[in-house]
Assembly symmetry: C2
Homo-oligomer: 504 residues x 2
């Protein structure tokens, strides 16, 4: 590393340092000792996670202690750290644990602790300008473009997650509409009402993006799904034609690459062809499923994703990177830039110096202040390599099939959806108990029982109106045995509730 020593200008000073404040440690060696102790504890916390409960409720006295008055006076870092250890660390979400399968939460990586610590020491603002972090983000985006066979002129931006990525990608679609300047004049001036399309199983973040973009949530049409829970192409075609006949303007279709409920993947190739023929923007919500391109078993199911106009996905799910880390890729980088770039005088771009360096990330999205989240992704991809990351995805899918098989062995358990990827939806359904509302309540209680026991964390959803226990596996710490433990605990809790009938 270059040392870059500087000439001493301080001789010209008229001032004195006396009494000047700083927030740096008064004693750097004391700071160093506290930081190393915290690091050791963090590593131990991670290494011993399997020995602990997945999750525990935050006790009332801890909540009270956290709801402390505004700290007007400071206290030693060591003391703040001690409070963290007592009040916060024991009550983590639980997703670092091998038996966390709730929602779609990635596990995180040990190397991510190092990457985040280093990013914090640099404290880069990645909104723009010409510095190392910007090149790292470009590299990570380029690596992603290659995974999806996107062309060189494609663009990309790291974001907090797919909710933001969907908003940005759909914003490019809206702002790129020909024959109007939606960016300047708004959608109210657009001659026809704009509509978009997604399956009824699509994630609601797409509808939220429609709301935020001023199109209204109702302008996103929910198309029914087939038996594999994929968008029905025939109904989609008909709905687009119907909206056109009604004088509306269909402008985009959102394909799901791994639905949130069951991991279903729409027929992306058919959607790409339809969008091409109909002149519609093809956006893919691939929150967790898109990174299946890294896996030999999932890649074939994603055929057509390489034809998308924009792809949204997360690194913190199936690449296991620390929260938060998502990405939006746009095939036509010029349209992406035109949708968001804004360079007022205080963001003027210069030929040289720190204000140089070509495109800035703020040219491609709403954010001007951006953390250096590229670093943890760069670390993850380099330390583990895309092949092993792909094999981890394979393993999670195999675990889902294993769990499916074990569920089918039990008369008291009922599978509620096909297992196509890494998600298993099922329920406890003892023979003879057929009241739908009772079954829903029973399974809701069982999920809470499991969570509160600390043995495992599934979550719930609804499949065909029925409450499902949902196990979503984006976890590199899970072993096959963990799914045995999950089922044993569930059958035990179910049996207990059935025996003590009042509790059902």
């Amino acid at each position: 590393m270059p040392t870059g020593a500087l000439p001493d200008h301080s001789a010209s000073s008229k001032s004195s340092d006396a009494g000047e404040l700083s927030l740096d440690p008064a004693d750097w060696e004391e700071f160093r000792a506290t930081a190393h102790r915290a690091l050791d504890d963090a590593i131990d916390f991670l290494r011993t996670v399997r020995e602990r409960k997945v999750w525990r409720p935050v006790p009332e006295e801890v909540r009270s202690a956290l709801a402390a008055p505004v700290p007007t006076e400071g206290q030693p870092l060591e003391e703040v750290y001690r409070q963290f250890q007592d009040l916060i660390l024991p009550y983590a979400t639980g997703n670092i644990h091998p038996r966390f399968y709730g929602w779609v939460h990635g596990t995180g990586l040990a190397g991510g602790i190092v990457a985040e610590m280093l990013a914090a020491s640099m404290n880069a603002n990645c909104g723009g300008r010409d510095h190392g972090a910007i090149y790292v983000e470009r590299t990570v985006v380029d690596w992603c473009k290659k995974q999806f066979d996107f062309p060189a002129e494609a663009s990309g931006l790291l974001v907090s997650g797919t909710s933001m990525a969907n908003l940005i990608g759909l914003g490019v679609a809206r702002n790129s509409l020909p024959g109007a300047n939606v960016r300047r004049d708004g959608v109210g001036d657009y001659p026809r009402e704009l509509t978009g399309y997604a399956s009824a199983e699509a994630h609601e973040s797409a509808a939220k993006a429609f709301e935020i973009m001023g199109l209204g949530g109702a302008a996103l049409r929910k198309i029914p799904v087939d038996e594999a829970l994929r968008i029905r192409m025939d109904v989609l075609r008909e709905k687009i034609a119907e909206d056109r006949r009604a004088g509306l303007e269909p402008f985009c279709v959102i394909g799901s690459a791994g639905t949130v409920n069951t991991g279903a993947i729409d027929d992306l190739d058919a959607l790409a062809t339809l969008c091409e023929n109909e002149g519609l923007w093809f956006h893919v919500d691939g929150a967790f499923g898109a990174l299946g391109v890294l896996s030999d078993s999932v890649r074939p199911m994603l055929k057509g994703i390489e034809r998308a106009d924009s792809i949204a996905f997360d690194f913190h799910k199936w690449m296991f990177v620390q929260y938060d880390a998502g990405c939006i890729l746009v095939r036509d980088g010029a349209k992406h830039r035109a949708a968001y770039s804004m360079r007022p005088p205080y963001l003027n771009h210069l030929q040289r110096g720190l204000a140089g360096g070509g495109d800035w990330p703020c040219d491609f999205g709403p954010e001007l202040s951006r953390s250096f989240r590229a670093l943890k992704i760069w670390f993850a991809m380099k330390e583990h390599g895309t092949r092993k990351l792909g094999r981890m995805i394979d393993q999670n899918c195999a675990q889902a099939q294993y769990l499916r098989g074990r569920i089918l062995e039990h008369l008291e358990l009922e599978l509620l959806a096909p297992v196509q990827l890494n998600i298993v939806c099922f329920r406890f359904h003892p023979p003879g108990l057929d009241d739908p509302r009772l079954l829903d309540r029973l399974n809701e209680e069982l999920v809470a029982d499991l969570q509160e026991s600390g043995v495992a964390v599934p979550s719930t959803t609804r499949i065909g109106g029925r409450l499902a226990v949902r196990v979503a596996i984006t976890n590199h710490r899970s072993r096959m045995v963990d799914f045995d433990i999950l089922l044993a605990a569930m059958l035990e809790a179910g049996g207990r509730r059935i025996a003590g009938s009042a509790a059902v």
Copy 2:
């Protein structure tokens, strides 16, 4: 910390661990050694920052090395870290340095390294659910509400920065419009065109929010400023009346609490009264200035901010917290929730278990995946206390006045705007050189000279059409002497350029 040991269910397993993958370190002690080495280096990097150049350009060979092919195979963490040290760390943005004054970048805190490392070990997803991190975020938001005298029913959300905070706050204003369901039906169905108002010196992120929200950037009217660069109330009143006469629907006014160019603070009290009388939403963009409420010298200038409907600000600027960390506060929490909350079945809220816990952060904004950024803010406020943080703000303002005084001593330097807060806009203007375009080019080159020399980093903007060297001080490491060094280097570089006239 409770140990939470678990019963052993593994006896029931049908599976074997043989051949199962994980991304955990093969050797935890080797990982520990690398992590500690990285931490020591990070601390040294911070402690010795004053001895290094503020910024250095990324050399061509480093750019090439970073633009490496996709890493298909992994490599040891130690080796990835070595590459980080060679290719990334030396090329930081520079804002941790005592002579970084470009744009408005905060310095970061040593304790922030510890907080980020701990957050990475927990890997919480703060979109929702019932776990420790959520309570920490609530506490931080509550502390902020108290700083602005906001009522108990106010709500808040941590975000990446004020660009996002502006978007969210203005989104609440739009979605709360009476007599329509903008969220469901979009702005196209709204009977009249919606308009908003901000000063010509307001940050462009407000206009970008209007673009994203489908209102169109042109719907945000730019109102001229007075000599102190504050919004002109008379013109504002007239413009609102004029738009109403034209059949438009004014719905919000954005007050600036510290403009990006000069730190001007609009008359927030007058704006609050106007908004009350006119029935408009009063949003304050206080990116860096709003936290002036912590400072005895700045607080009086912010009178009226406590009457806002929503306030947007950053912790990574004038609270020096690591990137990224901003906040939106909304006086009427119910309106805030109604604008964004969405609970599909897979986000169902339960009475107990991990899916409990009342309001979730995802109910208040577009993001469902959210990092645990509350932790670094909690650490900063507790370690340093609000009083000392306020005194740091005072010190930065005093430094701006000191710099102003020194500029006035030099015939070759010209002040371009009043110094009201922590920003000094000036230029090198040697007597006799009066060609406006030449002066602009000269000062642009001088800023790049300074940046490339590594002595100091100011940035540029335009004040009244003239290119200004802009020094924005949100830096807890700066001492008075640093401003002497900045001016000495600038005068030296200016003299050199004037002497070698070809270079001007």
